[in-house]
């Protein structure tokens, strides 16, 4: 299957899509004002001209390309695009200040590449094992799976879990607006014709992520990178030797934590940094430019992002905001992530997986020799970028359904998202539940019809019961890991940083 995936992925159009995706992703990672989630959300409607495989190859490329790009600003500017990149800053920036920014970027790219490739191997191995159970899945199992996806809320709730659940349920309520599934009658529309079409999840996502990021960008002063702190991007043999085991350990941590549904990359990068510091013969060098402190977390981050595709493809559970948006993209293209995806759309899945091998190789080619160009791109002023991104947001929201109502929705959610970010209310649970809402409701209604209103159906069927038990285990495990990671984040960056950032 993987070989046939490769033959498809190596067609000129699919190669071009992987290249465009990784280039846009790197650009998004390097530039301020737009994250991977926003970029994917804006581009989903634009990719309507492509077939689903080409579109998802490109969108996935943006996702992992942004991981690479993000390390550039973390190392050279000490600006972590997200909390998961903080460990990279801890030693990457001191290296840059010592004139070793180049080797730090180089080892980050090499570590990410190795971890990414190993991660894709893992994806190719594990995902079909999960998906083999597909034919045993009925509505109760799907409903339990949706409940399992709720475990992600624990990871994205930040300081107070009640806020995460409120946002999640708000997402479900937004997904109910429109026409009822069983009767076809208007529901929660309050007589408004525009609301009978429901809210478009893409407009909500662009508003919550992109518009609020642009507004936030206005507050921040952007700094261009100086090329003087770079040095050669190719690490020395000594650097490579020192980084080998941290890369392997980083991959193992990132990959296996990424298999847990909803396990945030923050957990894996901080855990990897912590492990490297504890295993090092010179822990005092950490925080002052230890290359292992860059190699481990960067590998963990990339392995985690690749492993995140396993719960996404196999169960429809995203591990990060960007994957939640990708999930929306898959659904818009009529591909229902979950156990049946491998059965019904095997060709698509294996082509996307094969394209990830190619995309990871492309990233090294685009990043290592051309890092100077990416550095120069950071000099594009925000005064130009901001309005252009704003116009792109309008185009993205409008073209999803050719509706101006969606543009108004985007603006409204942009304002809401800005205040939510300010007050540390997590927006990811809202997005996730808004996307999964219709699937959950359909599974609930079908399950209740099957069981004649008996809730016991969810525990009487072994797979469904097993998933519910797993949900409880994951929630407890996630809470423990997040509490531990929160302590590490506070130690590294102070208590002003939230795990939801």
């Amino acid at each position: 299957m993987l070989i046939s995936g490769f033959t498809q992925a190596l067609t000129p159009i699919n190669l071009a899509m992987a290249a465009i995706g990784t280039l846009i992703g790197t650009l998004v990672g390097v530039l301020p004002g737009l994250g991977a989630a926003s970029a994917i959300a804006i581009l989903i409607p634009v990719t309507a001209v492509l077939n689903p495989t080409q579109a998802i190859i490109m969108l996935a490329g943006i996702y992992y390309g942004a991981q690479y790009g993000g390390s550039t600003t973390a190392i050279l500017l000490n600006i972590p695009g997200e909390t998961a990149a903080i460990p990279t800053c801890l030693d990457g920036y001191p290296m840059a200040k010592q004139g070793r920014g180049g080797p730090a970027l180089g080892i980050s790219a090499i570590g990410s590449f190795i971890a990414g490739i190993l991660g894709v191997f893992g994806l190719a191995f594990f995902a079909p094992i999960f998906a083999e159970q597909a034919l045993k899945f009925g509505p109760p199992e799907y409903f339990s799976l949706m409940i399992l996806s709720l475990s992600i809320i624990v990871n994205f709730s930040g300081e107070y879990i009640v806020k995460g659940f409120i946002m999640g349920i708000l997402g479900y309520i937004l997904s109910m607006v429109g026409v009822g599934i069983t009767t076809g009658l208007p529901r929660l529309t309050f007589g408004s014709l525009a609301l009978t079409r429901g809210f478009d999840s893409i407009a909500i996502i662009i508003g919550l992520f992109a518009i609020s990021e642009i507004l936030k960008g206005l507050e921040e002063k952007t700094v261009a990178i100086s090329t003087e702190i770079m040095g050669s991007v190719f690490p020395s043999t000594k650097d490579l030797k020192k980084s080998f085991w941290p890369i392997i350990r980083g991959w193992a941590i990132g990959f296996f934590l990424g298999l847990l549904p909803g396990c945030s990359p923050v957990v894996s990068t901080f855990m990897s940094y912590d492990v490297e510091k504890k295993m090092s013969k010179h822990p005092e060098e950490f925080g002052h430019g230890a290359i292992e402190g860059v190699a481990g977390p960067e590998s963990a981050n990339n392995a985690n992002s690749q492993a995140g595709f396993i719960p996404l493809f196999s169960f429809g559970i995203p591990a990060s905001p960007a994957l939640a948006v990708l999930l929306a993209g898959l659904m818009i293209y009529g591909l229902q992530p979950g156990p049946m995806l491998f059965q019904q759309e095997g060709g698509f899945v294996w082509t996307v997986i094969a394209s990830m091998f190619i995309g990871n190789a492309m990233l090294v080619v685009f990043n290592l020799p051309f890092v100077g160009i990416w550095v120069k791109i950071t000099r594009i002023p925000y005064g130009i970028l901001g309005p252009v991104i704003l116009f792109l947001c309008v185009i993205g929201a409008y073209s999803s359904r050719n509706s101006l109502f969606d543009v108004y929705t985007m603006i409204a959610f942009g304002v809401i998202g800005y205040f939510m970010q300010k007050y540390k209310w997590p927006v990811v649970p809202l997005v996730l539940c808004a996307i999964l809402g219709p699937t959950l409701e359909r599974a609930w209604i079908q399950s209740m019809s099957m069981s004649r209103d008996s809730l016991l159906i969810f525990v009487q069927r072994p797979i469904s019961c097993g998933i519910l038990i797993l949900t409880v285990v994951f929630i407890i495990l996630s809470m423990k890991m997040m509490r531990r990671t929160k302590k590490l984040v506070v130690d590294a960056a102070g208590d002003g940083v939230s795990l939801t950032d």
Binding site: M176, G180, L185, L218, E219, I384, G386, L390, L404, D453
Partner: protein, 152 residues
Amino acid sequence: MKSLKFKFDYALGVISLIIGIVCLTEFKRLFPIRNSFLSGDHALPGLTGIAMIILGLLLLLVKKPKSIKVVFPEKTVMIRLMTILGILVVYSVCIAYLGYVVPTVILGIPLFRLFGGYKWLFCVATSIICTAGLYALFVFGLGMSFPRGMFF
């Protein structure tokens, strides 16, 4: 700022209660046309309504963990931010009547000015180039349809 955060959480607690009540009202409206007690369009509004009320009450009544300091930008930046949002609203209304090109060129000028503080002439030129570039890429290149309005 600490008190501001508290008020925001309190306000959202009240909003959660209101949303919960709205959902329960919708549950009551849809209940007569149900398939069964737990199956039908009424079920999820009912369940989410109850959950929102419980969570709203929890937010209002239960002591919350230590709050994070909320910092808003200074007044001039805040005004700039509000103006940009205002322009965006005007823009989205205008494109319905005037089409994509004219409002994008006209409202792009103050946007570039507000974002970058550039000279007016530079803003006019950048706005025209940006509009033309986006139109060429999306309409000619990708074959997408933009709002047409009175013009194009």
